[in-house]
């Protein structure tokens, strides 16, 4: 949940709140890319009787820019519809749900998919939420049946999944505490804390994922293998509570209320006063926010929070030099020549998009680095984003100066910069990812995870 509850307004609207975007060349189908957009953060698996579902009144989108202008050339859009089979019961299901057509399932959600406004699928069934061994006895098979082939090499899935992002939210938002280094924290005059292992605040919770797998040839232009990816959620401009009917009435054109490309940008880079406005705009308009990237507040905070640990970063911040390294990584892609044999540059347009060079083959599972490009693995973040990539550590290290030598070889990063972590790894996630589409793991059941 690299962008969950990241802005004041959208934090009050979970069904429209994007949490993570993943984009990678499919490891088991390397002629395709998989794009995943997660919504509805921090779901307690036992959250019945009204279990989680997509918003019927939300327009969800996954967008691709393949000409570098920060605007969508291809938009996959998803609309959901919920059907209540028996309004006279309080139950989500009246018996075991053993298939997607089970009459025991009382609250069914289906969806439609369009590409640039052209319908390519409708009446597609979401799986139910994972309730427990009596209600959803074979959840893995049930959810697998909700992978739909749309033809043309396109597969889609929309429904509940296990949260795969790992982050020590509790410590990080306690004044920038990183438990493995908290013995070095300034603590503002309060008693020192002993260093400790990280705590995965997003373990044992679920999200709702929209996943689509498409041929690379369908999303790239010839000779231009790098694409920019982001997700949006939009709502109609007017919502009124119709007390007579006991439901909301919506009207007017859809307007964007949530956006997510690179992880953690709106969460820890954009300032609070701009977060919801940032959410409403396209990547093409991001030049106005570039100063947050080139002069990141977190880079200035680290030397204050950890006195004496980041002297070189402190000097860099105080020099006022813009962080062109971060601008390249997050806003334009990395030009050729900075990292031998690698580029995901999309042009000079400043735009927050997850950039994926689709010509780079997936790294074999045993040879992957969770630190992605920083770990010498060009198939990982910031070249797209795989499910297991440690984007927290990667971005922390980059902001702390590890990547600044890309544009100033004389700069020597602080020793601690390359070690920064919140103390978590993919092993901190209890649910294992799948080896095939939609890759995110089976959601935690309410019976087993009564958090």
């Amino acid at each position: 949940m690299s962008s969950h509850r990241e802005a004041p307004e959208i934090s009050k609207d979970p069904v429209a709140d994007s949490t993570d975007v993943y984009a990678f060349v499919s490891p088991d189908k390397p002629n395709t890319v998989t794009l995943i957009a997660n919504y509805i953060p921090l779901q307690s698996p036992a959250g019945g009787p009204n279990f989680y579902e997509f918003g019927d009144d939300v327009l969800y989108g996954i967008h691709i820019d393949n000409n570098g202008d920060g605007r969508a050339d291809i938009s996959y859009e998803f609309r959901f519809r919920t059907t209540v089979r028996d309004p006279d019961t309080f139950l989500y299901n009246v018996g075991p749900i053993e298939s997607l057509s089970s009459p025991n399932w009382n609250r069914v959600q289906t969806y439609s998919v369009s590409v640039n406004g052209r319908s390519v699928g409708s009446g597609l069934t979401c799986p139910p939420c994972n309730i427990g061994p009596l209600s959803t006895p074979d959840y893995g098979s049930l959810a697998a049946a909700a992978v739909h082939n749309l033809g043309g090499g396109i597969s889609v899935f929309a429904g509940q999944r296990a949260e795969a992002f790992y982050v020590d939210l509790g410590a990080i938002f306690d004044l920038g505490d990183l438990r493995p280094f908290e013995d070095l924290h300034a603590t503002f005059g309060l008693p020192k804390l002993p260093k400790a292992a990280g705590v995965n605040a997003t373990n044992h919770v679920n999200v709702h994922a929209i996943a689509i797998q498409v041929p690379i040839s369908a999303v790239t232009r010839s000779g231009h293998p790098t694409i920019g990816i982001w997700t949006t959620a939009s709502r109609q401009r007017v919502t009124l509570w119709d007390a007579d009917r006991g439901e909301n009435v919506n009207s007017g054109p859809f307007r964007q209320v949530s956006r997510l490309g690179n992880p953690l940008i709106n969460e820890v880079v954009i300032a609070m006063g701009d977060k919801d406005r940032w959410n409403s705009l396209p990547p093409a308009d991001d030049k106005q926010f570039a100063h947050y990237v080139t002069q990141p507040g977190l880079a200035a905070l680290l030397p204050v929070l950890y006195p004496g640990v980041f002297p070189n970063l402190d000097a860099l911040v105080k020099s006022g030099k813009p962080r062109a390294d971060l601008e390249a990584i997050l806003m334009t892609g990395i030009p050729a020549g900075l990292i031998k044999g690698f580029t995901n540059f999309t042009g000079s347009v400043i735009a927050d998009m997850l950039r994926l060079n689709t010509s780079i083959a997936p790294t074999a599972p045993g040879k992957q680095s969770i630190f992605g490009l920083l770990g010498g693995d060009p198939a990982g973040f910031p070249n797209g984003r795989r499910i297991a990539d440690d984007v927290v550590a990667i971005e922390l290290r980059a902001i702390a100066g590890v990547t600044y030598p890309l544009i100033d070889p004389k700069f020597k990063p602080d020793a601690a910069a390359g070690l920064l972590t919140d103390g978590l790894t993919p092993a901190s996630v209890s649910a294992s990812p799948l080896g095939q589409f939609p890759y995110l793991g089976v959601p935690y059941s309410g019976y087993n995870e009564p958090s």
Partner: protein, 111 residues
């Protein structure tokens, strides 16, 4: 909404909450009116007619409509009663008109 390779119009699209807030705070006369199905309230009916006539006079801005706009609820947002700045929402469309007389009638209707 996605931003395709066409010019965006961010100035046209404040957040939905700002609309609702605006309805509550747009001077003394901000309001939102909903009329369901065919049972349009007098105020909403008048606003629909006025919107059309004002557009014909070339005074409207930011118009977009869907084909079934008249089938669902119609919502009127008086952004500024004094200047007659009014938005009309229906279906997935919206129309912006400037009609001080209409705004004044709506104000009187809720007084």
């Amino acid at each position: 909404m996605p931003s395709h390779d066409t010019p965006s119009s961010p100035a046209e699209g404040p957040s939905r909450r700002s609309i609702i807030r605006g309805a509550a705070t747009a001077g003394a006369a901000g309001l939102a009116v909903t009329a369901l199905g065919g049972a349009l309230s007098p105020a909403a009916s008048a606003s629909t007619r006025a919107a059309g006539s004002t557009r014909a006079a070339g005074a409207a801005a930011g118009t977009s409509h869907d084909q079934n706009a008249a089938d669902g609820p119609i919502v009127v947002h008086v952004r500024n009663a004094k200047s007659g700045d009014i938005e009309v929402f229906s279906g997935t469309g919206q129309t912006r008109v400037r009609d001080a007389d209409l705004a004044a009638r709506i104000v009187r209707a809720i007084a």
